[in-house]
């Protein structure tokens, strides 16, 4: 009983230390203007997503008045700041609610790809041999597909829905994550602390997850930011091609797809969601660049 207590208190102090270290490296990011710009853009959209139910001027799916231009007055009070779409839905409100959709699915899909990719990469790098051969071959084959072809095949086969998008992203992105993790593990497993843990008789998965993985976090964080940006683009592309989340719930790619035929007459319907997705992706890419810059200075 007492030994359990000490181990848990050691665990919590280690967690506190890790938190402190994380905060300190976050403070370091202040030195990079690029990182600050990235945090500002991503932060802006997170705030918009969180506050959408409170500040969106209209319900996102309410069909009020079609083809209203930006800044025109709504029939029963209020203003369509960014105009309405072909069904008369307020574009500003839909963009705000769309931020919730994308900021829910993109991190979740990326996380899922990371969990699978990290487990595969740890196993391939640590065990080597046959495990490595099999896992590497599988990911080579998946990566040999042009990525959008893979998405279209998967979504056309299993159907378009939120969960299927997460499955497709995991399937297509995990091999890339695996390659990075595998490369890092091949380097880290020769370190003394790994040999020490092996001598203590720790289990392989304990060594991989507790000893090796935390030391591989640097490159993984940078890659994670870039990958979230890429997953946001993917979700947007799928929506744009009509393979994304089913209507009517607002999704940026879907908004562009629905208004596409009218884009040349009413450009605001497509331009606004495009600005939204581009700035969000830009935020993550700037953040990745800033983190890389700061980590190189250390």
């Amino acid at each position: 009983m007492s030994s359990q207590d000490t181990s848990s208190s050691i665990g919590s102090s280690a967690a506190a230390q890790a938190l402190l270290r994380g905060l300190r490296s976050l403070a370091l990011l202040r030195e990079s203007k690029i990182a600050i710009a990235g945090i500002a853009l991503v932060g802006f959209w997170i705030v918009v997503a969180l506050l959408a139910p409170l500040v969106a001027p209209f319900p996102p799916n309410a069909q009020i008045q079609p083809f209203a231009a930006p800044l025109s007055a709504a029939p029963d009070g209020g203003i369509f700041l960014l105009g309405t779409d072909q069904l008369g839905r307020d574009i500003l409100s839909r963009v705000m609610w769309g931020a919730r959709t994308v900021l829910f699915f993109a991190p979740l899909a990326t996380l899922s790809a990371y969990v699978v990719g990290i487990v595969m990469g740890l196993a391939a790098g640590y065990f080597g041999g046959l495990v490595d051969d099999v896992l590497s071959r599988i990911s080579d084959i998946i990566l040999s597909f042009p990525v959008l072809v893979l998405y279209i095949l998967i979504i056309a086969t299993i159907g378009a829905s939120g969960i299927n998008i997460i499955i497709a992203v995991t399937f297509a992105s995990a091999p890339g994550v695996m390659r990075i993790v595998r490369g890092l593990v091949l380097d880290l497993r020769t370190r003394n602390y790994v040999a020490a843990a092996q001598t203590r008789g720790e289990s392989p998965w304990y060594i991989m997850l507790i000893e090796i993985l935390p030391n591989a976090r640097g490159p993984l964080i940078v890659d994670g930011c870039l990958r979230i940006g890429y997953v946001i683009i993917t979700i947007g592309v799928l929506g744009f091609l009509g393979l994304g989340l089913p209507p009517p719930d607002p999704d940026w790619g879907g908004m562009i797809n629905e208004a596409r035929a009218l884009a040349l007459a009413f450009p605001h319907m497509t331009v606004i969601p495009c600005i939204a997705i581009s700035t969000l992706v830009l935020g993550f890419n700037l953040l990745a660049d800033g983190i890389r810059e700061v980590s190189l200075h250390d």
Binding site: I34, D140, I141, S144, F145, P146, V147, L148, V149, I152, L153, A156, T157, G229, I233, G236, V237, F240, L241, G242, L243, G253, I256, R260, A263, L264, P267, T270, V271, C274, I275, I277, S278, V281, L282, N285, L286, D289
Partner: protein, 310 residues
């Protein structure tokens, strides 16, 4: 070297073979569903059974796979459900259209991004380097469909300079190629530039370049005669691998501009469950991707003497 090339091509064939098997299992494992797709949802049970019998679908899976593979290799891809013609009749003209698109994209992309990358990387940290690097982050952050929307809003809606669709309905029109090519370049140029910049910047810090500068060679001569050769090895691979990305970008761009190419064909086939067309398109896409990956590998090894001799 010869052994390496043979090995790489062997690996490529193996990959293609596995992909073909997976594709076949994914789409044709159950003959019943193939018959439904070909004959439509409202076809009669009897009709489907007759069709299955006539087309050899009652044979075991392996026999069917081998004869399907034979068809693929000899260019007999079956019949398109949607176009009611042999797949090959639709596929090759569409592929040609995409090749035109890809040619112009690469013809502009490669010199442009190499120049920008070398300019940025030759003096790391300079104002020009910062400007080029930030611009590349911005252009890679804008997805293809978004830059297509932006460029259309500017050049088609506001200025009225260019056609908004590229269907080429009245014969081939170079003006209609302008926007699709521009969108593809915008998305890819940032990445290739950044890779070239990184490679150039790394070469510029090596001792042999420092020696060349210190012994008083003009900076231009150091860059052109000494640095470029080594700095362009890595971008070669990156450019070859862009073909894989381009195949994805082409789907979006062709769909947006209604361009009758390979990408829009693949999308149309998938949306309509046009099963034999999907199979042919996917195999062609994977073939192009795997071939360029193999050539990139071989080229990289050939260009880099340190690897070549080892």
């Amino acid at each position: 070297m010869l052994l390496f090339i043979t090995k790489r091509f062997g690996l490529m064939l193996l990959t293609m073979l596995i992909v073909s098997l997976l594709l076949f299992v994914l789409l044709e494992l159950q003959p019943g569903s193939v018959a439904t797709k070909v004959l439509g949802l409202y076809s009669s049970e009897e009709h489907r059974t007759l069709w299955l019998e006539a087309n050899g679908y009652l044979d075991p899976l392996w026999t069917r796979y081998l004869s399907w593979l034979g068809g693929m290799l000899t260019g007999d891809f079956g019949e398109s459900i949607r176009f009611k013609t042999p797949v090959a009749d639709v596929l090759w003209p569409r592929l040609w259209n995409t090749a035109i698109l890809a040619f112009w994209t690469f013809a502009i992309l490669v010199p442009l991004s190499l120049t920008l990358g070398v300019l940025a990387g030759m003096r790391e940290g300079s104002a020009l380097d910062r400007a080029i690097s930030i611009t590349s982050i911005i252009t890679t952050s804008v997805p293809e469909f978004a830059s297509a929307v932006f460029l259309s809003a500017i050049f088609v809606f506001s200025l009225g300079l260019l056609p908004g669709t590229s269907g080429m309905t009245d014969g081939f029109d170079p003006l209609q190629l302008f926007l699709p090519v521009m969108v593809l370049i915008l998305y890819d140029v940032g990445y290739v530039t950044r890779m070239t910049r990184a490679s150039m910047a790394e070469v510029m810090t090596t001792p042999y370049i420092r020696t060349a500068v210190l012994k008083g060679l003009p900076f231009k001569r150091v860059v052109f005669r000494h640095a470029l050769r080594n700095a362009l090895i890595a971008p070669f691979t990156v450019i070859m691998l862009q073909v894989n990305w381009l195949l994805s970008g082409v789907i979006v761009v062709e769909f947006f501009f209604a361009y009758k190419g390979f990408g829009s064909l693949l999308l149309e086939a998938s949306l309509n469950q046009d099963i034999f067309l999907i199979e042919a398109c996917t195999m062609v896409a994977v073939f192009v991707a795997v071939t360029t990956q193999t050539l990139a590998d071989i080229g990289y090894t050939y260009l880099n003497p340190r690897i070549r001799l080892a």
